[in-house]
Amino acid sequence: MSQPVTPRRTTRSSAGSASDPASPSKSRPKSTPRRQLIPAASKEEEGEDERSAINALLEALPGRRAQASDLLRLLAPAPALPLLLYGGAATGKTRALLLALRHIRPRPRRVAYAALRSLPSPRALFASLLSQLSPPPSSSASSRQRVPDKPSDFVAALRDALASLCAQGEAVYLVFDNLEVVRSWDKGGQLLALILRLHDLLRLPQVVLVYVSSATPDAYYSMTGSVEPNHIYFPDYAVDEVRDILMRGHSNPKLYTSFLSVALKPLFRVTRRVDELGAALEPLFRRYCEPLGDLKAVPDESTKRRLFEHIQPHLAVALNETFSVPMRASVDQCKDGNSGVKASTKRQFGSRDSLSTELEFHMSVSAKYLLLSAFLASRNLATLDAALFDSTGGSDNHKRKRKSSQASMNMKDTMVEEMLMKGPGTFPLERLLAIFQCITSVSEDALNDVECPDSMMNGSGMTGLMSDVLLQLSTLCNSNFLSKSRSCPLEGAARYRSNIDEDLALKVARSVSFPLSKYIYRR
């Protein structure tokens, strides 16, 4: 915090002379440009320039012509009502607002911007707003400003700060971005009401409140009883608008157009968010360009066809991936800088298969058995344990089923269905240990065959496996394979639940050659 002491007003008064370089020179104190919004177009007076500035604004916001002109109209002379910009994520709300604030006349005296998402607590919000509004403190009393704890104190402080600014008679803009985030904060409801009622609380005509939110106004104004603001709605982009946005700033527009004509439509069906599309298209475009030697070349028809055939399989993969995470594509790239394209595509397609064959990480044998028993305990009903884990190791399971009557079969079916709907069940530690003991004792013979004569050292091999079962259990809990509910340190009466899916369980079972499917109860 080594900012030089500069009363803002003095620099501001010399704005006419200082604003023409538009770039902060070295001699200029740091704090000054920070207080200004984006260094504005220099010659403010001339009307023609103003018109061209508006055109530039519209240019910078493809597909947002209506919203941009609304913004300019509603912001320009300080309006009587607050303004709410709303619409889905990545529809250009913040960008439009910031650009519009740069272009409105008369120029805003001060803009305080608070992105609620990047502020971890209400106090941080208060501090951020106040520090943007009040002149930079003198260096001696520097950063240790008193930050109000209570909302009422904040309103008072805010009024003080604003009042001194408004005395000059120019508009001050307060922007609250990501307003929807506040709802999930601790005591967010109260804070939200406070923010929305600021207009009533402050009663300063020069202060313009702007809210930006991805939730609709109904979410906010249904019960606060505050003044209903002006709305500007930002609808989702249409496919052509998305194309315009994506096209901006590409070195080879022809090539990119041909790429977008192939890739955009299918992906657009999956998601309409520009940011998601951008993220998904970027690796695809890199793939698309791979066969090309020269990236500056303008593709002709035959090249386009060739490229299309090249990209087609990747596109199919990307369509399935866009919705979750575009992780694999990048992963592959990082892994094989040198291996050929074909190999990596093959891996992409075959990745599901290769994943399912072997376990990717190391776990000790007893942890594997414990995981399997947890999976079984979650999956099967407790009442079935006796049938599954009797002395024969569950092999005469079928006989028993055949004997049972149709009615009881039906009942069991509904029970199983219900269980599947409920998801994995919980179980106490005892049941887990009992199943663990059963399945390790069954597979003990096999284990001894493979593992050489260690049983003589471990007492019997079983007790060897049992020895630090609780340690293994905590390992599994740590890696999120099991989740554990309330517990008492002495009694250990916690209940557990297994979170793994059947694929992983089968993989684990295969790695210790345990016949898992024999023990899963199915209809």
Binding site: P24, A124, A279, E360, P453, S467, D468
Partner: protein, 722 residues
């Protein structure tokens, strides 16, 4: 009334035996020979009674020579410290070498990501400090994130890895912060988490911390233009909600303040998908990096510590098998393997009187060292040295110091050859995914030598894979088979490595072997140049389907057999190996797997034998003069898995009362005068109180569980069987 306390300290020491042993692993305290003897005597049922006896003898020998006792104690302690520090530094070096590759990858990634971020925009200091976002053409602001797959469900091994990674990045000009799962928990929330991030970067954190504080810090000249790396080492344990919020918070600023994540994932790449919301995932630009798998690291460690004679300490077959099983079946972490090894090492030096001679293995002039030491030895210990069973079998009977020195140098030489032969085997088997630890376990098996006669015929009849050989020679057999099916290129490489390994050998016969390798190499090369690659491939596939194998492969296999037969002499077959080799698996096991609950129960049941009091000698019936908890535990043995509280109490009261009345009858100076009227209310209250205390003690030691709400009169037993 519980115990006459003449020898309480002794029994107390006995009772905590497993803990005492664990404690000694710290090697900070000098184990007195007194304590050692007691440990030995308290294990009369150990299967390897021989060793116990030997050590007993040794202790006795030393006791006769009280003056020298301290000296040799001291020598052994020094020897242990020297040996272990050598091993430890070797371990560190090996692990560092393995990790360094990953570290460089991470650093490379950091540099690339940083230049990418800077290519988007190079914001001026003032722009960075503005609270509103930069207007750039970037559509999606994503934080470059490296997911490091640690490939081990257990996390312990990677703590040091990530610590070293942090150091490595920091020394290469990055700002660094580490967030752990405790900071990323729901309790602290995103605010607390962000604060601790700031605290690691800034020297002075204001009490209200927003990103702007970070921004103004970043704009200071000495901080600017460096990436900030946030390491989260255990992703799975973090709260997904908090981490997601942190990601969203930082992603808004990523162009102004280049913050990158490095996240450690113990399981699979699914973990972040399951943990984070899709919105947060959208803000990450992931890259995958992988750490060497635990078995790779294990192979490297085994090679450096156990195969190459790095410290003059080695382990016997049983101990090796135990460690191997402990690693694969129970714990699976390198950390616990190392600590077990350290325990074995400390045990060896504390139990084996001559173990201080180990250090000689590291000396330049080891014979001189041994001569010095040995000549200073008192007569009894010399006699002890020649009483080793390995000497008896090798028929070394004269007590001259030359003998033992010769024996030791031969041991050293043979160990080296053994290591080289083992590495040759491993090199051949490596392509068939044979683990070094497996081969090692087979190669230290003393039965290997006696079975060597059978060896050739066994291997040549290739049906061996189904044979269950008790000592488990399967890995070596597998290697032998593997070498017959190696493709030419790999074989060539293997031969090259062999000649490297064999170069170090000292024997006369070795040069001959080395010549054979050279010869084989030259033939391979000539064959290689004659035949085009494609033809070889078809030949290979034909060979693998048909019965015949390549003659060169066959030759290599014969050579390998030769080497194995001649030089793979397990250490336990050599005279004087007891000095450097730790074989007592029981001691190690009881030290590692304490099984405290069982020990507590056993001690409670047999408290008479530990206390050695005069009052409760009776063997069968439960005497009332026992300690309350001991009585209760004895009584509990009569029940199944639940105990009826009322019955239990009644029996307890009966026993107490009978003793009291008996004591009253016998002597008037009974210590329990107050309880002379058992039927009186306060007497009963006292008994009830004692009962309650005993039950609570049993609960705390984990022998019973308190009654549940459903069945308030029944206690559950947890520990069964003595």
């Amino acid at each position: 009334m519980s115990a006459p306390s003449s020898d309480t300290p002794l029994t107390a020491a006995n009772n905590i035996q497993p803990f005492l042993v664990l404690h000694k692993a710290a090697a900070s305290s000098v184990p007195s020979s007194h304590a050692r003897r007691r440990i030995q005597t308290s294990q009369p049922s150990s299967p390897s009674t021989y060793l116990a006896d030997r050590c007993h003898d040794a202790a006795r020998v030393q006791c006769e020579d009280e003056g020298d006792l301290d000296l040799y104690e001291q020598l052994r302690l020094e020897a242990f410290q020297q040996t272990w520090s050598k091993i430890q530094s070797t371990i560190d070096e090996v692990l560092k070498g393995i990790n360094l590759k990953l570290f460089d990858q991470v650093l490379q990634w950091v540099k690339e990501s940083f230049s990418l971020v800077r290519a988007i925009a190079r914001p001026h200091h003032t722009e960075v400090q503005q609270s509103y976002p930069l207007l750039t053409d970037v559509i999606c602001k994503r934080i470059p994130t490296a997911f490091i797959l640690t490939k081990n469900a257990e996390f312990v091994d990677d703590i040091t890895t990530f610590r070293d990674l942090a150091g490595h990045l920091e020394s290469n000009g990055c700002h660094l912060a580490k967030l752990s799962a405790t900071e990323l928990s729901a309790k602290h929330g995103v605010g607390g988490c962000f604060r601790s991030l700031l605290r690691q970067l800034l020297s002075d954190v204001p009490d209200v911390a927003g990103v702007s504080v970070l921004a103004s810090w970043y704009c200071e000249a000495e901080n600017y233009d460096k990436p900030i790396i946030v390491i989260i080492d255990d992703l799975e344990q973090c709260s997904g909600d908090v981490l997601g919020k942190l990601v969203l918070l930082l992603s808004e600023w990523v162009i102004k303040i280049p913050i990158f994540f490095v996240m450690g994932i113990a399981t699979t790449l699914d973990a972040p998908k399951k943990l984070l919301s899709s919105e947060a995932l959208q803000r990450l630009e992931p890259w995958k990096l992988t750490l060497g798998s635990p078995s790779d690291r294990m192979n490297a460690l085994v090679e450096a510590i156990l195969v190459k004679p790095c410290a003059g300490f080695c382990i016997g077959h049983e101990v090796a098998m135990f460690l191997r099983n402990y690693f694969f079946r129970h714990d699976g972490t390198i950390t616990s393997f190392i600590s077990a090894l350290k325990l074995a090492c400390s045990k060896h030096f504390s139990l084996e009187p001559l173990s201080f001679l180990c250090v000689g293995m590291l000396e330049e002039d080891c014979e001189e060292f041994w001569r010095d030491k040995f000549e200073a030895l008192p007569q009894q210990i010399r006699k002890y040295a020649f009483g080793f069973p390995s000497c008896a079998s090798a028929k070394i009977s004269s007590n001259s110091s030359n003998n033992i020195i010769e024996g030791l140098s031969k041991l050293l030489k043979l160990q080296k050859d053994w290591g080289s032969a083992l590495l040759c085997l491993y090199e051949a088997g490596r392509h068939d995914k044979v683990q070094l630890l497996d081969i090692f376990c087979e190669a230290v098996n003393p039965d290997l030598q006696t079975e060597n006669v059978l060896f050739v015929s066994e291997v040549t009849c290739e049906s061996l894979s189904g044979v269950k050989s008790g000592c488990g020679k399967r890995s070596i057999t597998q290697v032998m088979n593997a070498i017959r099916h190696l493709p030419m290129e790999t074989l060539l490489h293997v031969l090259e490595v062999w000649s490297n390994h064999l170069k170090g050998m000292s024997e006369i016969g070795m040069s001959e072997i080395n010549d054979k390798v050279k010869e084989l190499q030259s033939t391979t090369i000539s064959a290689d140049s004659v035949r085009p690659a494609k033809e070889r491939w078809t030949r290979r596939s034909a060979a693998s389907t048909g019965n015949g194998t390549d003659p060169l492969n066959e030759k290599a296999a014969v050579l390998l057999q030769d080497v194995t037969r001649k030089y793979l002499v397990p250490v336990e077959c050599l005279p004087f190996h007891e000095i450097i080799c730790f074989k007592n698996v029981d001691v190690l096991q009881s030290a590692l797997i304490g099984n405290p609950r069982r020990m507590v129960q056993l001690d409670l049941l047999k408290s008479q034998s530990h206390l050695k009091c005069s009052c409760c000698r009776s063997g069968t019936a439960v005497s009332g003069s026992l300690h309350d908890t001991s009585i209760m535990c004895n009584l509990a043995q009569e029940y199944g898995d639940v105990i009826n509280l009322h019955d239990w109490y009644m029996t307890f009261e009966g026993i107490i009362n009978s003793t009291n009345s008996k004591a009253k009858r016998k002597s008037y100076s009974s210590p329990s005068k107050k309880k002379s009227k058992p039927s009186s209310p306060e007497g009963r209250a006292m008994i009830q109180a004692r009962f309650c205390r005993a039950v609570t003690e049993m609960q705390i030691t984990g022998l019973v569980r308190m009654p549940s709400k459903r069945r308030p009169d029944l206690v559950q037993r947890i520990a069964f069987g003595p």
